[in-house]
């Protein structure tokens, strides 16, 4: 590809990210995600009122059943697949593509904004819930909270990258994402432990173990492995997204 659009492309990243941010936050489904993100916080409050502030029951009941199993993938898949998906659906992608910008810059702007909102929602929810319920349990509680937040950050980055790339190949990225979340990570990875290497949830849990060994259903990957695999996943999927965006074809609506 002939491309003399280098420096300008870097400056365009925050512009694209800013517009994408407003796009993602302005959608109605974002409000539903905020409500979902509030659930762990409300549960943490309930546990606190009931006087149950031990790490184990909280982590099992709230973090493991809701935050990392439902909230994280749902939020990150929605934002990841929506970053390009919404613009491809309504045709506004044309305004981004008809610019003298390297395609990696467009991908970067989209990915950064989707990651930012996904991290904001999931990490804030987890941190707040942890602050309410775990921090009173002492130093271990602080570490457990930090580990959970790290899991959210790593998970958000990975899910967003994967489903952002997928949304450039199919309009059904969201459906595939939910299927992946329920079937692959939900059912298969429990039956077949080998799948851990291909499970973003395991990457997130593995990364968290760098800070604290959370008492959840076993984290099967070491922290190092989890970080390496996460990095490979993010770089590879965003590179594929850039490659695909260079070749994307936009036929007209009517013709």
């Amino acid at each position: 590809m002939k491309d003399d659009a280098g420096v300008g492309s870097i400056r365009a990243i925050p512009e694209i990210a800013r517009v994408t941010l407003r796009q993602l936050l302005g959608r109605r489904r974002t409000l539903l995600l905020v409500l979902l993100a509030a659930l762990p916080v409300l549960l943490a409050l309930a546990f606190r009122v009931a006087g149950e502030t031990a790490i184990q029951p909280f982590t099992r009941r709230v973090f493991d059943t809701i935050s990392i199993t439902i909230l994280l993938p749902l939020v990150a898949i929605l934002f990841g697949s929506g970053a390009f998906g919404a613009e491809i659906d309504d045709g506004t992608i044309v305004y981004l593509l008809a610019k003298p910008l390297s395609r990696w810059a467009v991908v970067a702007g989209k990915a950064l904004s989707a990651m930012a909102v996904a991290i904001l929602l999931t990490a804030a929810s987890t941190a707040l819930a942890g602050f309410i319920d775990l921090v009173p349990a002492g130093n271990d509680g602080v570490l457990a909270t930090e580990a959970q937040v790290l899991a959210m950050v790593v998970g958000s980055v990975c899910y967003v990258s994967l489903f952002l790339a997928l949304s450039l190949f199919t309009r059904r990225a969201l459906v595939i994402g939910v299927g992946y979340m329920l079937v692959w990570e939900g059912a298969l990875s429990i039956i077949l432990p080998g799948i851990a290497n291909l499970s973003i949830r395991q990457y997130a849990l593995g990364a968290a173990s760098a800070i604290y060994r959370l008492p959840v259903q076993e984290a099967r990957l070491s922290a190092d492995t989890a970080f390496v695999l996460s990095g490979v996943l993010v770089v590879a999927t965003l590179a594929i997204a850039t490659w695909k965006l260079m070749r994307i074809e936009l036929p007209g609506d009517t013709d």
């Binding site: 300008g8 365009a12 517009v19 506004t92 044309v94 003298p100 074809e249 609506d253 009517t254």
Partner: protein, 327 residues
């Protein structure tokens, strides 16, 4: 009548507008360009070149106009043949967008941005130094200064078209491609937009806009390309093509307070060559639609017949283009 049309399908390739200076590549050049989707051929063996000026790309819906514009804009690779803009192949070459402006057909523009924010966004992505100043100037050019700080979500259809145009010309492109830019504009906005395009053409820009309405082409496009079913059916001066379209045989149905008396009066005029009394009213055949429209009002008044309805039976665009292709 002299033949105003250049046959394109099998005839020699003829530039729509010959260029004065041969060394510079033509602004827009298609050589046997084709594009198909699976078994469906959207654009079929189209060749033409364009230099500075406004050219209207005319054709019914589904004729391949958008596909052609998207090939020029680099959003579609030709399945066969070559497409060049300013001597370059636009597909997979983003840097070409410094010199191309595109107004897509789809109406959607980021509804949460104000007009100024949207045009400034375009200017910044173009890497322009004074993005804000240029954005404001572009908005003034399309006459949206009153709505500059309003969210685009509150804009009317015509205003949205104009803000899209402002966004696409903020970097002063050499080639401006517009897909159905007059859709949703009222007549006044349309005239203003046509004047804007004419002004750009006079400044040496190449402008290609598509339309399925002949009247839209009238004011700006001195040259037009007519596409039908993926092929370039005709190209040439709009007046000649316009005359062909209006002077073809027309059938018009007229209902009045006294069809029989009106029929007698109409037959006396040379513009009318057949009148038939039917259950639905008078079926009148004329070769000159424009002349007939002027005629009917006067004739009915002079014989004291009140007109109830005048309907052109074969005015659909498809039939007009069909007629053009058959010639």
């Amino acid at each position: 009548m002299t033949a105003p049309l250049v046959p394109e399908a099998n005839g020699p390739m003829r530039p729509v507008q010959p260029l004065a200076a041969p060394p510079a590549p033509p602004a827009v050049e298609l050589v046997h360009a084709a594009r198909w989707y699976g078994n469906v051929v959207a654009v079929n063996d189209v060749s033409f070149t364009l230099g500075a000026g406004v050219t209207g790309l005319l054709g019914p819906n589904g004729a391949g106009k958008t596909t052609l514009l998207h090939m020029l804009a680099g959003f579609l690779a030709p399945s066969a043949g070559t497409v060049r803009v300013l001597g370059r192949t636009p597909h997979r070459d983003p840097s070409v967008y410094r010199q191309i402006g595109l107004v897509p057909e789809r109406e959607a523009v980021y509804p949460f941005l104000t007009g100024l924010e949207y045009v400034r966004f375009n200017a910044r992505l173009q890497g322009l130094p004074d993005a804000d100043g240029l954005a404001r100037a572009a908005i003034v050019r399309v006459g949206l200064d009153d709505a500059i700080d309003r969210p685009i979500g509150t804009y009317s259809k015509g205003m949205r078209q104009r803000v899209k145009v402002a966004g696409s010309l903020v970097h002063d492109p050499q080639v401006l491609l517009l897909d159905e830019p007059f859709n949703g504009m009222d007549p006044r906005q349309r005239i203003a937009m046509m004047d804007l395009l004419s002004g750009l053409a006079e400044a040496g820009r190449t402008i290609l806009f598509s339309s399925h309405i002949l009247e839209e082409v009238e004011r700006v496009g001195t040259e037009i390309l007519v596409m039908v079913a993926g092929r370039l059916a005709a190209s040439g001066d709009y007046r000649a093509i316009r005359a062909l379209m209006t002077d073809r045989p027309h059938t018009i149905t007229v209902r009045s307070s006294d069809d029989r008396r009106l029929a007698t009066a109409l037959m006396a005029d040379p513009a009318v060559f057949a009148v038939e009394l039917t259950d639905a009213g008078l079926s009148v055949q004329t070769a000159q639609l424009g002349a007939f429209r002027r005629l009917i009002a006067g004739v009915s008044r002079s014989v004291g017949v009140r007109l109830v309805e005048v309907v052109s039976a074969d005015e659909s665009l498809e039939s007009v283009f069909d007629y053009l292709v058959r010639r």
